[in-house]
Amino acid sequence: MSRSTLLQNAQFKWAIFRSDDRLTVIALAGFVGVCSGLAAVALNRALHFMGAAFHGFHHHWWAFLLPAGGAILSAFFLNTLLKERAGHGVPEVVYAVSRYGGLLRFRSSYSRLVSSCLTIGSGGSAGPEAPVVMSGAALGSNIAKYFALKERQRITLVGCGAAGAIGAIFNAPIAGMVFTLEVILGEWRTHNIIPIAIAAVTGTELSRLLQGNQIPFEHQQFSISLIDIGASFGVVILATVVSVSLGRLLKGMHTVASKSRLPRWLRPGVGGAAVGIIGIYLPIVLGEGYLSIQDMIQGSFSPGLVLVVIAVLAKMLATALTLGWGGSGGIFAPSLMIGSLIGLVYYRFLDWLLPTITLSSEGCFALLGMAGLISGMLQAPLTAIFLIVEITGSYEVILPLIIVSALTSTFCYYIEPASFYLRDLIEKGQYMLPGTDARVLSDLTVRELVETDYMAVPNDMLLKDFIDAIKHSNRYLFPVEDRETYRYVGMIFVDRIRPYLFDPHMHAVLMTEQVMEVAVPTVKADDELADVLNIMEHNRLSSLPVVENHRFVGMLSKSVLLDHYRKELIVQTGAG
């Protein structure tokens, strides 16, 4: 090759390299990971601090007011001070990603941190993960906004924020990645994986730097035998039951709370007070519960079997009370704790029932229980598997782990078709993965598809003049407008008026307004295409008129829709 073509080639490749937007995202991913890592560490520290500060008060009689006060303050902060009408973190992120390309408000990046700190730190039973994910995602979104990135890149950065957050909290970068891809983004694409991986790693690294390389739960060694694998099937059943119950309990509590006649600001206080009362008798129910989980994994959880069962029920109730009545936080940590409790229950029960069988340690079953609950509640089996493996640092558990995670999430899927996070969204029909029919239809707009080159005819035109008019058109649909006001009054379908067209007597006697169809449903410019298609199907029409403000704008036809639908689908799912 000559020198100039080599040069041209190189220049060409460099131009592509530079304009490839993936690089910007990769460059920013690390930064986003750092930011979300900081958020995670900050919350973690704050919770430790508050935990230590309040530790001394738990034996006072008025201690139950602490969670109440915390919850009220947190709701006040969130709703009144910051005016951020809270959803629960993760579903909001998914909503933003699926509907608006990951646009999140800036205030979300710090608001949840403060509010959940107040709720959990004072003893409320909730998890700090969802708020940190929300913060990380909002940070990612706003960084993308600051750099004026496109929607696709913004979505990736939102995912980076979430990955960094989870990685930092659990010191588990793979779990962070998998969580983001499985739950938040819902899709695995080459352009997503690298930035998310980078963010997860940077978040984790930051957390290690600031907090030391400790995970919330220490490494353990377990030896697994065939019996354990068999026993894990029982865990599946237990986990399924508990997951479904917890989900329903939370929903029920939410309904009860919203129907209550107490003033809005007082409601979280009620939930908090109830939790506080439970907490007087069972203090392990309070807070996020990492310490108790640690004990359980180490096998040093002392309370007896009956007490543990009570603890399971109490913790479930406490979580529902905290979150259902307006406290701020997530269900991740409570799920972990409840999961490990039921693992414990199962182990001790089995031990009591069949004392001759030697199972691996009860810590192992605590882990399996945790995996089961996460898989069941979030329906994210991969996240569960990776999280547990990364937490324990031991690979031996993997076989029973896979069994529990996969089976629990499958069973739960049959009973409750959506994960807890996504339930609301799916119910409202707002959960749309890219490349799905719902998504393609919601992305296309009527404005894009309308064809405007239709000739309108006045309503008092005689049929014979109309026939003259249609000679000059290649359409077979004609909108009819009122001669004075130009308002749309009906449509003429040439194929339906054939009998009249061929009868010369009718030509002089009939007018367009007599042969037009008035009952044709009309479409507005911002109608949803899914609805439009339904109307077309019900009325067996392949075209509908688009009418704005009583004026005819154009026709929306199925064939044009199909063309655009294909192109949209190809673009949405095609080149990564």
């Binding site: 909001e92 608006y100 704005e548 704008v553």
Partner: protein, 276 residues
């Protein structure tokens, strides 16, 4: 397509003035009116690159049961059949999503604060954010309803000013009202502005459509504002020259909004101009 104007209705006498202004605007331009009667004090608008949460002042929820009726009655006397927006998607239970699919939006000077602040010299932060992110110009109304009979474009030579000028010309053509231009030379030579017009290919249109071009080279900017017709609709590009242009209104803009009680059409940096 038909042009659409978004109006957030406040069921108070002050809100009535604002709605009358929107009605006049729609009638003059032949745009259709979309009214949102808020049921909650917040709503969120998702633009291309920003999600703006608008926190409304509590007075927006006054007498909610009569609001729609009042709005409809007012619209009918204005001869317009409005469409009432019902939000279909919610970011949170109390936070509806309002579409950004409009050609104009009407705001009072402040949307988040008490009506007492609807004086000169104040354009609320939320309104500023909307102007900054929106793809459509924002109509800021005068405190009481005033018909405008001419259009005055404030031309400073920047890109935004060119955009504002294009909008001004389009409005003048559509409404048939005369179009004036106002330039405060501020130390630059008079030719500079002509050059900017040439570069933006607007010089020709300016010659055809502009009635008077006030070029002020002496005296204080504020004092020169007296030249602007009291019946004019002021069309201003909202973010001007310089580094700070992303964060604050340009200094001229601040002065204009403090001194002029006219109705103003603010053309933000993201406004996409669809040709006349």
């Amino acid at each position: 397509m038909e042009e659409r104007l978004l109006h957030v209705f406040r069921n108070t006498p002050l809100g009535r003035e604002t709605l009358l202004q929107s009605l006049y605007f729609c009638n003059t331009l032949g745009a259709s009116l979309y009214i949102y009667v808020p049921k909650t004090t917040q709503f969120i608008m998702y633009f291309d690159h920003d999600a703006v949460q608008v926190d409304l002042d509590g007075s927006y929820l006054t007498a909610a049961d009569t609001a729609t009726e009042h709005a409809r009655q007012l619209a009918e006397t204005g001869g317009i059949n409005p469409t009432f927006l019902t939000p279909k998607n919610f970011t949170a239970s109390q936070l509806p999503d309002i579409s950004t699919n409009f050609n104009y939006m009407c705001c009072p000077r402040s949307i988040s604060d008490l009506s007492s602040k609807i004086g000169l010299g104040y354009i609320g932060p939320k309104v500023r954010r909307i102007v900054k992110s929106s793809t459509f110009p924002v109509l800021i109304t005068s405190p009481s309803f005033k018909e405008w009979k001419s259009i005055c474009v404030f031309y400073g030579g920047s890109n935004n000013a060119n955009k504002a000028l294009s909008w001004g010309i389009t409005l003048s053509i559509k409404t048939g009202f005369p179009l004036d231009m106002f330039t405060y030379t501020d130390g630059r030579s008079v030719d500079y502005f002509d050059e900017q017009l040439e570069a933006a290919k607007l010089a020709h249109k300016v010659k055809r459509h502009v009635r008077t071009w006030h070029k002020i080279s002496e005296g204080k900017f504020e004092e020169s504002l007296y030249t602007v017709d009291y019946e004019a609709l002021a069309v201003v590009g909202a973010y001007g020259h310089g580094l700070i242009k992303d964060f604050l209104f340009g200094s001229k803009m601040e002065t204009i909004q403090s001194w002029l009680p006219n109705n103003m059409l603010l053309v933000g940096p993201n406004c996409t101009y669809r040709g006349a």
